[in-house]
């Protein structure tokens, strides 16, 4: 199950971990990503907290926690290859994994088709 936020983050639940990343639309809008500041393992976030920072040639943008939880792991591949967010934003370019989350918080987020419609309308 993958869901999206209005701010273009995505969450994918896989068993007891939730993968967090940014949508291909967001990656495209930001342009070439040059640096990702990932959260530290064990940090607690609540919905809407600034979780990570993504820097591109155009801008530095905060990435907000789409759901609350504790960081289990940040994507180690992004340190050497931040461009992975451009080449594979919704798969290999995930930013971090959260644990200890409440799956009910997913209800507030958009399904993929709703998100794609939201993009067209905005």
């Amino acid at each position: 199950m993958r869901k999206f936020t209005k701010d273009h983050e995505w969450v994918k639940i896989d068993g007891d971990v939730a993968f967090i990343g940014i949508s291909s639309h967001a990656a495209n809008e930001l342009g070439d990503i040059t640096f990702v500041e990932t959260p530290e393992e064990g940090t607690d976030f609540i919905v809407g907290d600034a979780l990570a920072v993504v820097e591109s040639v155009k801008a530095a943008s905060d990435i907000y926690a789409p759901i609350s939880g504790t960081v289990k792991e940040a994507n180690p591949a992004l340190e050497d290859d931040p461009g992975m967010i451009n080449s594979s934003p919704e798969e290999n370019g995930w930013i971090c994994k959260l644990e200890n989350f409440d799956i009910a918080e997913m209800d507030a987020l958009m399904d993929e088709d709703v998100y794609r419609t939201y993009l067209k309308d905005s």
Partner: protein
């Protein structure tokens, strides 16, 4: 472009010195002497002059080019100010002199300049007192945030930790508030480009220390609710901070103090025609309403009853030192010269011409570029290159293409709430002829984007180095040999 090291020949020198005819006082310790000779260019004086003259001709600066960098107010700096700043009575002053015994008597003129500049700024902006100390805009923001924190602490209200910052504010505002210890909360803009009043009202509460409002905002728009916003924040127990980086739009027309702002920083290096950018240094004085005066940094320049000037350090509630000595004095001096030259009649004409020029560009380019907000702008206008992206041309390409046409690029991709933003600030110092030439270049780029976008995408082609790989430079920076 050749490096100076590849010019000249071994042993060549710029000037020949006669042989040493006094005893060689060889007092430098052997351990302190360098082991190898310094690698210096070996060129004649003429070769050195030609090298640096050619280098300087590759600059794009306001002395040579139209420089419409939005949000930066790159106006022309009159040379008269440089003459004033280089007068030996000012230029040769030692910064410690006012603090030495009887030194005060020797620095009356300099202290008077600081004091009088403060008085003029109080009058123009509607504040009780200014500190001239902050050394740049963001330093002024930090000083302002520290004053707000000191105020709440003195009132036993230290739990006010949240600083509200609209999304059309300058990017340094959240950073300054965070450094001062505040938690920042973003307030969105409404569809007109103003602060969303509903979101503001929802955010106000007992935890709010204040709001940092960029006025006019980074969309180049004056928020008609500004006075109302200040009132709402005040009623909720907070203070209102005005980011005055865009003061060029309203100077002499509106007093931010009268709008209800409690604290404001201004940028002398933007609005007051002092050097900017590589030429620096900057200066970001902060003005405050009466209730914040006790917290201002030291030192403060005061006028005694006998008309002489002195420095005061003894203010128990002061936030203390925020800069060495008295701020960037030579910049304050240039500002004094600027204000005295323009006078009461001249100052309002700054904003009058700056706003007229920006709206002239806005109207002339409206048929060729999209605008997110279709309304009069202030001192800068924001376009969006969305129409051009259909042909594969982006804001970056348009900016690069302007270089080939003899113009400094505008600000791009800022403000971030406008897609493919191009932010153009002509300032009041450009003539109509130069503005018309810029408009023609922008129209030419818009037309060429449709017909032969590949030409725009490969710009610049007239510069010593062509299009740089910015992504590679950012991902793999090589910062030393």
């Amino acid at each position: 472009m050749e490096l100076i090291f590849s010019k000249g020949a071994a042993g060549r020198v710029g000037s020949s010195l006669p042989a040493l005819d006094v005893p060689n006082n060889n007092s430098i310790l052997d351990s302190m002497k360098r082991k190898e000779s310094a690698e210096m260019p070996e060129v004649s004086e003429l070769e050195a002059v030609r090298h640096f003259t050619l280098l300087s001709r590759k600059n794009i600066g306001v002395d040579s080019h139209f420089y419409p960098l939005g949000s930066c107010t790159m106006k022309y700096n009159p040379k008269f100010h440089e003459n004033v700043a280089s007068l030996p009575g000012f230029a040769d002053l030692h910064p410690l002199l006012p603090q030495l015994r009887r030194g005060g008597a020797l620095t009356q003129g300099a202290l008077e300049v600081i004091y009088e500049t403060e008085q003029m700024l109080n009058e123009i902006l509607g504040f009780a007192q200014f500190t001239m100390q902050p050394l740049a805009g963001a330093h002024g923001e930090l000083t302002g945030c520290m004053l707000i924190a000191a105020y709440h602490k003195a009132n036993g209200d230290a739990s006010r930790k949240v600083m509200l910052i609209p999304d059309a504010a300058h990017g340094t505002n959240p950073a300054s508030a965070a450094v001062a210890g505040f938690i920042t909360k973003e307030i969105p803009s409404d569809e007109e480009g103003n602060v969303c009043m509903k979101s503001l009202k929802e955010a106000l509460g007992p935890d709010v220390a204040g709001i940092m409002l960029t006025c006019p905002n980074t969309l180049g728009l004056f928020d008609p609710n500004t006075a109302e916003i200040c009132k709402l924040v005040k009623n909720a127990g907070g203070l209102s901070y005005c980011d005055g980086a865009n003061l060029n739009a309203i100077i002499g027309r509106v007093k931010p103090g009268d709008l209800g702002f409690d604290v404001m920083h201004i940028n002398l290096h933007k609005t007051f025609a002092t050097p900017h950018g590589g030429g620096g240094p900057g200066s970001g004085p902060v003005g405050v309403a009466p209730q914040l005066v006790p917290f201002l940094p030291v030192s403060r320049v005061a006028k005694r009853a006998d008309g002489t000037y002195t420095l005061e350090y003894n203010h128990s509630q002061s936030i203390g030192y925020i800069a060495p000595f008295y701020g960037n004095f030579s910049i304050i001096l240039r500002t004094y010269a600027y204000l005295v030259t323009l006078g009461r009649e001249g100052v309002p004409r700054i904003s009058e011409h700056a706003v007229l020029n920006a709206n002239y560009i806005r109207a002339k380019l409206a048929p060729y570029y999209d605008q997110e907000y279709d309304r009069y702008c202030m001192h800068e206008c924001v376009f969006s290159a969305t129409r051009q992206t259909k042909y594969g041309v982006h804001a970056l390409d348009i900016a690069k293409s302007l270089i080939d046409r003899g113009f400094h690029p505008p600000t791009m991709y800022f403000p971030m709430i406008v897609k493919e933003a191009l932010m153009i600030e002509p300032t009041e110092t450009e003539s109509k002829e130069d503005i018309d030439r810029f408009i023609e270049a922008m129209i030419d780029i818009a037309k060429e984007s449709e017909i032969s976008p590949e030409k725009i995408i490969q710009a610049p082609i007239t510069t010593p180095v062509k299009r740089l790989d910015e992504t590679r430079a950012a991902r793999n920076p090589k910062i030393s040999e």
